[in-house]
C-alpha cells in the first residue's frame, strides 16, 4: 500500500513547487517583457518609468518605424534568414545521408565514422578561425553568404549526424527490404525511409538554426561588409555606436529576437528532444 500524504500537506507542497517555478519563470522572461514593453514607448517614457506600461502619453511606434527605415535593417534580416536557412538545409541533408549510411551499412568503419562525429560535437571550431579566414580569402568568399554557410555546416554536421543516427536506428528493416525487393536502388530506399524520421529532422533543424542565427564570432570575421552583414552583427554595431536613439535601438532588439522566440515556442518539443538526445548520448 502506498502511503498517501494528507490532503492539506499535499496541497501546500504543490503550492510551494508552483511558487518556486513561477518565481523562476518570471526571472526568465521578466527582463524580456520589460524590453518589449519599452519598445512601445517614447524616449521620455523609457527613462521616466522603465517598468511602467505605456499610456496615452508615452505610447509610440516611432522606434519600430525608425528601426525598419534604418538602411541596413531589412537587408541584415534577409542575410540572416538566407544564411540560417541555407546552412540548416545543407546540414539536415548531409546528416540524413551520413546517418542512414552509418546505420544501414553497420561495418567497423561505420563505427569509426560515428565516433569521429561524436568527438566533433565537442570540438571548439572557433579556434580554427585563423585558417578559416585564410581559406575564405583564398577562395574569394570573404563577405559572401556562402562563406558563413560553409563554416556553419561544418560545425553543425556532427551533432546532426549523431541525432539522425538515433532516429534511423528506430526504423525496422521490413520497409527497406520491401523496397529493395521491389527493385529500388540504395538511394531510392533511402528516400523511401526518410519520411519516417521527420521528427528527427525537425529536431536537427531546430537545434542547428539557433546558434547560427545568434552567432557573433564568424560574422565579425567573415562578413563585416554592410551588404552581407547579419542581423546579430548589425545590432551589435548599432548598440556599439552609443546612439541616443534608444527607441529605435530597443525596437530593433525586439525585432531581432522575435523570429527565434516564435520558432522555439512552436517547436520547443523537437528542440528539447534534439538537445537532450544529442548531448546525452
Amino acid at each position: 500500500m502506498i502511503q498517501k500524504e494528507g490532503k492539506f500537506q499535499s496541497h501546500s507542497k504543490n503550492f510551494l513547487v508552483h511558487f518556486w517555478m513561477l518565481f523562476f519563470a518570471l526571472l526568465a522572461i521578466g527582463p524580456i517583457i520589460v524590453i518589449i514593453i519599452n519598445s512601445f514607448k517614447t524616449t521620455d517614457g523609457i527613462f521616466s518609468g522603465p517598468l511602467k506600461l505605456p499610456d496615452a502619453k508615452t505610447f509610440s511606434l516611432d522606434g519600430y518605424k525608425r528601426a525598419i527605415q534604418n538602411g541596413n535593417f531589412i537587408r541584415n534580416y534577409f542575410n540572416s534568414t538566407a544564411i540560417t536557412l541555407g546552412a540548416t538545409l545543407i546540414t539536415v541533408l548531409c546528416s540524413c545521408l551520413a546517418a542512414y549510411g552509418i546505420t544501414e551499412y553497420a561495418t567497423k568503419l561505420a563505427k569509426m565514422i560515428a565516433g569521429f562525429f561524436t568527438i566533433g560535437i565537442m570540438l571548439p571550431v572557433t579556434l580554427g578561425t585563423v585558417i578559416i579566414l585564410k581559406m575564405m580569402v583564398s577562395f574569394h568568399l570573404l563577405n559572401t553568404h556562402i562563406a558563413l554557410i560553409l563554416v556553419y555546416v561544418g560545425i553543425s554536421v556532427p551533432l546532426g549526424v549523431i541525432l539522425m543516427v538515433t532516429n534511423f536506428r528506430t526504423i525496422s528493416n521490413d520497409l527497406k527490404e520491401a523496397a529493395r525487393i521491389d527493385g529500388a536502388n540504395e538511394f531510392k530506399t533511402f528516400l523511401i525511409v526518410v519520411p519516417l524520421v521527420k521528427p528527427g529532422i525537425a529536431a536537427v533543424a531546430a537545434i542547428t538554426m539557433l546558434p547560427i542565427w545568434n552567432d557573433l564570432w564568424f560574422p565579425l570575421i567573415l562578413t563585416t561588409g554592410p551588404k552581407t552583414q547579419t542581423l546579430t552583427l548589425g545590432i551589435q554595431q548599432f548598440v556599439g555606436v552609443h546612439t541616443n536613439d534608444w527607441q529605435a535601438l530597443i525596437a530593433s532588439l525586439v525585432l531581432g529576437a522575435i523570429p527565434l522566440i516564435l520558432l522555439f515556442t512552436l517547436f520547443s518539443k523537437q528542440f528539447i528532444k534534439g538537445l537532450s538526445d544529442g548531448y546525452g548520448k
Binding site: 565537442m122 570540438l123 545590432i235 537532450s276
Partner: protein
Amino acid sequence: MLRKRQRYLILFSLPALAFFIIFAVFPLMGTIYISFFKDSVFVGLANFKFLFTNEYSSTRLLGAFLHNCEFFAIAASVQIPLALFMAALLTSGRVQRLTGFYRTVLFVPSTLSVVIVGFIWRLIISPLWGIIQYPLLGEKATALPTITLMSVWQYLGIPLVFLYSALLSIPSNIIEAARVDGASDMRIFFGIKLPLIAPQIGIITVLTFIWTFNGFDIIYALNGGQPGPDFSTDVLGTLFYRTFFGWDSDQGNQNLGAATATIIFFIILLGTAAYFAIVQRRLKVSQL
C-alpha cells in the same frame, strides 16, 4: 558484399565528412601547424615562448586564463545546482499540466543572441534606469561576476532540459518501490535520483567547461575586444581575437593568434581528457 556495403557507407557519409573535415577539423589542425611559424618561416616554439615570457603578453595570458577559471567556476556552481533544483521540481509530479509551460518559458532566454541579452541586462542594471545604483559593470571587482551571471541567466535552460530528461528517464518502478518503503521526497531525490543522474551532471559540467573556455560573445558584446575595466573581464576568447585581429593600437598577428588558439585548445583538451579519465569512469563504476 562487405566491399559493396563499405562503398555505400562512404558514399552516403561523404558530404557530411567533407564539410566537417574541410571546415572544422582541417582549420583546427592547420591552426596548430601555423603556430610553429613566423611569416612562413618555421620557428619551433618561439611563438609560445614569446606569449609565455614577454612581460605584456604573459600578464594578459595569465589574466585571461584566471578570468576564464572564474567564469567557469561561477557559471558551473550557480547554473548546475539551480538547473538541478528546477528539474527536480519539474519532475516531482507536483507541476503536472504546467510542466510544458515552465520548460518552454525557462528556455526562452537561451534563444536570444548575446547581443540582446547583454543589452537588456546592461539597461536594467544601469544607473540610468535607477533600479540598481551601483555600477556593477564599471568596477573591477564586480564586472566579471556580473557578466557571468548574465550568461547564467541566458543559458540556464540548457542544463535544465538536459537534467530534466535525465531525471525523466529513471525507471518509475525504482521510485515507486522507495515510496512504498516510506521514503520521503527529499530522500528519494538525494538517495536515488541524484546518484543515478551523476554521469549527466558530469557531462553538463564538461560542456560548461568547454563553452566557457571557448567563450567570447557575451564579453565582446558588452565590453568589446579589449574588455575593461582595466582588462578585468578579458578572457581567452577576447585575447585570441585581439592577438589575431588586433584592437586599437595593438597590431594583429596571425601566427601569434594561432599560437593563442592552440594554447586554448590544449587547455580545453586537457580539462576534458582529465575529466573523462578520472571522474566519469569512477561515476560509471559506482553505478554498478
